[in-house]
Symmetry: D3
Subunit: 294 residues, 6 copies
C-alpha cells in the first residue's frame, strides 16, 4: 500500500478524534481477553494512542483465569456462584496478589513501553472504591436463600479525586477491582460491574468491554448475526427469548448497570481482533456491539 | 482495504505522535501551494489532526499570485527585485487586503470547518512582528547600489506572547506576514523569511515549507534525484555547483535563516501531494527534503 | 491653565473609574465617525486610557463609506435595502478585504501606537460569530414580499471564549462584523446590531455607539434639544410621533436590541467631538444620549 | 473650563500611566505633611487614583507632631538626638499607640472612603520589619561617645511576602514604622529611613517623600531656586557648601539610602500643594525635586 | 514521665486533628483572660500549634481592663450601660490606641515569637467590618427610653475577603473590634458579639470564648457544677431560673448570636488554665462548656 | 496523668513541627520491623500525624520475611548473596505479588484507616524507578568473580514527578521497590538502597530506617552503648574496628548512600518501640541513631 493511502486513513480518524476530545472512556479489560502477548500489545498501543489524541482511557482489569491458575498451584479449587467467585481469606490474598501484584503491573509496563505514562492503582488507594459485602440470594426449592460468598463486595461509593488528578496530569490509570469496606476490610469485586460503577462516577462517555466474543449475536457461531447496535429494551427481549443466555447474562447486566449510572454508550468488542478498541471507536460501523439506553 | 489494516496504520503513527508531543511546528503555506480547493482541504485537515494529537502548528501564509491578480485588476503591474515585491503605498494596501482580508480568513475558515479552533492574526496585533525597512543592494556595472523597494521590511523582533497564549489555549494561529516599524508604519514582509524568524522566536522544532515542488532535486525533471536529507553545507555546495538556482535560492536562504535562528529541522514538501505534511512527519522516509544544521 | 487644576481634573475621574472598574464596554465605532486622523486618534487614546484604568473596551467597527469607495473603484454600485448592503459574492470579498484587511488593522495600529495591546479579529476566528442568512421582508403594494440581500447575515450565537481570554490577558479586541454560517460560508453583518449582540453575550455594562451625530435630538439642527437620557418606551413614542426617522431608526433598533440582550445602558455619542467617549463616561452629564430600559 | 479641555487633560496622563504601569511606588507620608483634613484628602485621592490606573502605592507614614502632642498630654517631654526620638519604654508605648492605633487607621479610612481597598500594617506583622537596636554616636569634646537612644532601631531585613500578597490582591498597604528585634522586642524606627529600606526591598521604582517644603532649594525663601533634578553627587556638594543644612540633612540621607538600596528615583514634594504626588508623577516637569544616582 | 507516654499523647490528638482539618475557629480572647505573661504565652502557643496542624484560628480580641487603665491615666472615668462602654470622641481615640496600637500588636508578637505568621488587623482594613450606630434602650420607670452610648456600633456586614486571603496564605489574623459606618466614622464594638458575627461570616466551625471563668456553672464557687455541654434552650431556662445572671448574660447572648449566625458550637473556657483551648478541642470531655443549637 | 500535662506535651512538639514544616521525610519500613499488628498501627499513626502537621512522609517498604514465607509455601528455597536475594523469573513474580499485591496494600489500608489519604505505587508507575541489572562481584580464592543474581537491579534514575504530584495533593505515597530496566523488564531492588535513592531524588530532609534494632551500638546486648549521633567517618572507623559487622553493613552502606545523594540526616530507629518515628523526630535526644555527613 502506498504512503498516500496511509495519510488518508489517519485523516479519516479526525472526525472521531474531534468528537471524543477530552472525554473519558473506561476500558474493562482482562481475563479471557488477555490471551497472548500480541493481544496485550494491541490493546496497550490503542490505549496510548487514545491518550495522545486527547481521549482519556481509564482501565479497569480483571484476571479470572490467572487467579484460577494461582489457586490451583496452591491446591485450592476455585468455586463460583452466579458468576461470582466464592472468596475466603486465603483466596482474597491470592486474588489481590495476582490482580494488584501481577496483572495490574503488567498492563502498566506495556503502556509505558509504548510511550504512555501510567499509574497502577487498586480501589484501596485514595478512598477510590468504598464497598460493602454483597448479599447473594439463590432460589432453591422455590425458596429464596442467602448464600455467603465470603469476602465478595459491591461498590458503594467511588471517590474520583485521585483518578481525576492522574487523568488531568496525563497518566493512564489502571485499576484493580478491590474495594474496602467501612471496617477497612478488603473485598473482591466483580470487574465488569466495578468498571460500570467507575465509569458512571467518572462521567465517562463510554464503557468498552474488551471480551473474547465479537459482541452480541443471535447465533454465536454465525458472525453475520452480530448486532451492531442495541438498546436496553431490545436486549431485555433477547434475554426473555433465550437468545442471550448463560455466562453472558452477568456481563450484560454490568453493561446495563453502566448505562443506568450515566454512561452514554457501552461497547462489547473482541480483544482477539487486532486493535479492536480503535476500530470500534474510529470507524463508522464499529466492529462489536454498541448498547444504548432507549 | 480492510478495517484491520486501517487500525494498524493509525498505530504506526504512534511513535511519531509521542516524539513530537507538545512541540511547535511552523508551517509556511500559501501562494503557489494553494492551487485548488482540494489542496487547501488536505493541508487544513493535516493541521487540525496535528493539533488534536498534541502537536502545535503555527501557520504563516503568503499569497503572491492572489496579490498579483488583485493588482492587475486595479491596473497595477507587479514588480519584483530579487524576489521581493516592490511595494508602494497603494500596493501595500492591496497586499494587506488580500493577505489579511482574504487569504488569512480563508485558511481560518477551513481549519474551523474540519474541527480546529483557529485565530487569524497579522504581525500588527499584540506587537507580534516588529520590522524595519529593508535595505536592498544590487550589483550593477560592478557597483553596489541601493535600491528602494518601498514599504518592504525585514523582521526585527518577534513578540511571542500573544501566539503563546493562543497555542496554549488550543487555537491554531494563522499569521499574515505584515510587520510594523518603529513609526508604526506597516511593512510588507517576505513570508518565507518571516516564517523562519517566527519559528526561531517560538522555539519551534520544525519549519515546514509547503511549496509546489517535491523538494531539492539534482534534476528538477527527475523525481528520483530528490534528496531526502541535506545539511546546510551540502546545500551550499549545491548552490556553488549550480544545482540549486534561480527562484529556489531565496527560499533556501529562508530555510538556512530558520536553522540559524534555532529551528531543529526545515522541511520542503509539495503541497500538491495529498497530506504532504502528515507524510513528511509521520513516515520514516518522509516525502520531501529535510534540511539540518551540520 | 495651571498644573494644579489638571490634577484636580484627574481626580474628578476617580469615582467613575471606581464605579466601572473591571467592567466591559463594547464600543461600536467606524464608518461615518472615522472622518479624519484626528478623530481616530481621539478615540484610540480614549480606548487605551480606559484599558489602563481598569475598564475593558471591546471594539466592533463598521466601514460603510470605505467599502463604498472600494466598490466604486472596482466599478460596482453599492445598493442598500432598509439600510442593509445587498451583498453578492464579489461584494462580500470587497467587504472582507476592506473591513478585515484595512480598517481593522488601522484601528489596531492606532491602539498600539498609544500604548495599548490590541488584537484584530473577525467573527471567523474561534467560532466568534455564528450567523445565519437574514431573511428580509418588504411591504410592496400591501404585500409582504421576501427580498434576497445575498450574503447578509444576522448573529445566531456569539462564542465569547476567545475574546474573554484576550480581555483577561490585557488586550483590546477589535472585531470586524463578519459571521460564519453552518455551511462555513461568510456573511456580512450589520455592525450596529452585531455590536449589540456581542455586548449582550459578553455581559458588557455599556454599549457605546460612536456616530456622527450628538445623540437623539428633537430638532436635529438645534443642539439644545439633545436628550441626555431616554428609556426605550420614550424612544418608541418619539418614533411614533415622527421625531426619530429615517436612517436613525435602524441604529435605534440596534440600541434596543442591545438593552434586550442584557446591556445596562447604551450611549450614542458624536465621534467628531474630541474624546467623546471619555466625556460621556467620566462626566456627570455626559455629552450624548444615554438609553436605558424602562 | 469646558468639558473638552478636561478630557484632554486625562489623555495627557496616558503616557505616564503606560510608563509606570504595574510598578511599585513607596510613598513616605506623615507628620508635618499631614497638616489638615484637606491635605490628607488630596493625598488619599492621589493614592487611590494611582492604584486604579495600575500603579501600586505602598504607604509608610510617620507621625512626629502627634506623638509629641500625646506625650505632652501625658506629661512627658519629647527629646531628640540627631533627629532621632529618645525612646524609653513608656515613650515606645505612646509611639505605637499613636502610629498604629491612630494615624495608620486614619490613613486607611481615608483611602477606603475614596474607593480604595487598604490594609493597615506595622512592621510587627508577618515578619515585615526585622530591626536591631541603633547604636548612635556623638562627637563631644573631640571624643566619639555612644549615646543610648533607648528603644530606637534600624532596619535589618524586610520580608516583603505579606506586602506582595496584599499589593497583588489590589490592596494599598499602609505601614507604621515599628520594627521587631531578635528578642521580639519592638523598636521605634525613623520613618524616612524605613521607607527607603522598604522601597529597596520591594524593588520600588520610586520613593516619594511627601514633606512640608517644595523640594531642595538654594534659598528656602525663594521658590525660584528650587532644583527639579539632582544627583547624589550634586547633593553632596550642596551639603559641603552649606546649602543643605540642619533638619534637611537626615531626610536627604534617607533619600540617598533609598537610591543605594536600588530605588530608581526619589522625589521630595510638598504635601501642602494640592495633589502634589500626581503632579510630580504625571507632568513633564514635576513640581518638587527628583533625586537620581549619578 | 517517659518519652513513650509522650508519643502516645501526641497520637491521641490525631482523631481531633483529622476531624477539624482545614476548618476555621474564631477565638475571642482578651481583657480579663489576659491576666499575665504566662497566660498570654499559653494561648499564643495553642494558636500556633492549631495553625501548624491544619486548623485555622482567627483571633478577635478585647481589652476592657487596659482601656480602663489608659482612660484613668488621662483622667477619664469609664462608664458602662448594659455592659457597653459609653464612648465619646476622646474615649474612642483611647479605645483605638489601646486595642489596635497596643493589645493587637502584643498578640501578633507573641504568635510570631512561637513560630506563627500573624497579621494584625482592625475592622477598618479591607472593608472588614461595616457597622452602624447601636441604638440602646433602657427600661426606666416602666418606660422604654433610648440612651445614647456615643460611638458604639453593631456589626452590619463582615467582608471576609481579606481574612480569607490571609488564612489561605497561612497567616493567623488578629482582629481589633473597631467597625466603620457608612459615613466612614469609626465605631467601638463589643468584642464578644463581633467575634460571633465574624465567626458566622467566615463559616467558622467553632467560636471559642477565652474568659476568666471555667464555663457555665450552677454554683460559681463549686467547680463540680460545671456544665460540659448545653443547648440554647437549656441556657435560656437557666437564665429564667436565675442561675445565669449579671455580667454573664451579655456574654451568653453573644454565644447565642454566634450559633444563630451559623457557627456549629461555641465554647467557653478559662484562659487561666494552661492551654485551655487545646484541652477543650483535643480531649473527649473538654474542660469548659460547649454550647450547641437545639 | 492529668489533662494539663497532656496539653503541655503537645506544645513541646511545636518547635519540631515548625522546624520540619513542609519538608519531605522518606521512611524505609518493612520486613523485620513489621512484626505485629500493633507495630504496624504505631507507625501508620505516626505517618498520618506527620502528614497532618505539615510534614510529608514518603514510605518505601521491604518485605523479606513475607517473601520467604511465600516462596517456601511454593516449595522454593530463598537464597541470598551479600544480603541480596537471588531472583529468578519465578522468584521475581513472587516478590512482586507479595510486595505490591499484599504488603503495599496493607500499609495503604492502615494509613487510610487512621485518617490519612494514601496511594500505593511501585517503581513501575510513571517511570518512577528506572533500574539496571546489578553486577555483583565476589572474592573467591583471591579472585574477583562475577555472580549472576538474576533479576536484581540497582536504581539508575528516579523520576519524582508522580510522587511530587501526590505529595502536593496531600497523599502519602507508599512505594514497593520494583524497578524497570531499559528493555522494560522488572527488577527486584534492595529496599534500603532504593529508599536512599528516592530520598536523594526527592530532596528529602531525612531518611528514617525503621528496623528491629535500637540503632548503632558498641555492644548489641547493652542498650547503654547506643550511639545517638554519628558521622560517616566515625561509622567507617567502627566498621574497620569490627564493631559494626555482618548484616548491619549493607544497611549502613544504604545510609551512607542516602547522605551522599543529598539527604541531610539518616536515622535508624527500632520499629518495635511504640511510635519510634515520632520519638526520634519530636524529642531533643531522639531514641535511635542519627547519622550525618562529616
Amino acid at each position: 500500500m502506498d504512503e498516500y493511502k496511509k495519510a488518508e486513513i489517519l485523516i479519516e480518524a479526525l472526525p472521531y478524534i474531534c468528537k471524543f476530545h477530552d472525554q473519558k472512556f473506561v476500558i474493562k479489560y482482562g481475563g479471557h481477553a488477555m490471551v497472548n502477548e500480541q493481544a496485550k500489545n494491541w490493546i496497550a498501543k490503542d490505549m496510548v494512542l487514545l491518550k495522545y489524541v486527547g481521549i482519556n482511557p481509564i482501565i479497569v482489569h480483571g484476571g479470572g483465569p490467572e487467579i484460577n491458575r494461582a489457586m490451583e498451584k496452591m491446591g485450592k479449587v476455585p468455586e463460583f456462584i452466579h458468576g461470582l467467585r466464592v472468596t475466603d481469606e486465603e483466596t482474597l490474598e491470592i486474588v489481590k496478589m495476582v490482580l494488584i501484584g501481577k496483572i495490574n503491573g503488567d498492563i502498566v509496563s506495556k503502556l509505558e513501553q509504548y510511550g504512555g505514562k501510567s499509574v497502577g492503582l487498586s480501589g484501596k488507594s485514595g478512598q477510590l472504591i468504598k464497598a460493602r459485602k454483597k448479599i447473594q440470594y439463590l432460589i432453591r426449592d422455590n425458596e429464596k436463600i442467602e448464600v455467603d460468598l465470603g469476602m465478595v463486595g459491591e461498590v458503594e461509593r467511588v471517590d474520583t479525586k485521585l483518578v481525576d488528578i492522574l487523568v488531568e496530569k496525563k497518566y493512564i490509570p489502571v485499576i484493580s477491582p478491590i474495594g474496602v469496606d467501612e471496617q477497612n476490610k478488603d473485598l473482591n469485586l466483580n470487574a465488569d460491574i466495578a468498571a460500570g460503577d467507575i465509569a458512571g462516577a467518572m462521567n465517562a462517555e463510554k464503557l468498552i468491554m474488551v471480551t473474547d466474543v465479537d459482541g452480541i449475536m443471535d447465533d454465536i457461531n454465525d458472525p453475520k448475526t452480530l448486532h451492531r447496535k442495541l438498546t436496553i429494551s431490545q436486549i431485555e427481549k433477547m434475554i426473555e427469548k433465550g437468545i442471550i443466555t448463560g455466562g453472558m447474562i452477568p456481563k450484560i447486566e454490568a453493561c446495563i448497570n453502566a448505562l443506568n449510572k450515566g454512561v452514554q454508550s457501552v461497547h462489547i468488542v473482541n480483544g482477539k481482533i487486532p486493535h479492536a478498541v480503535l476500530l470500534e471507536i474510529f470507524t463508522e460501523e464499529g466492529i462489536g456491539t454498541m448498547i444504548l439506553k432507549d
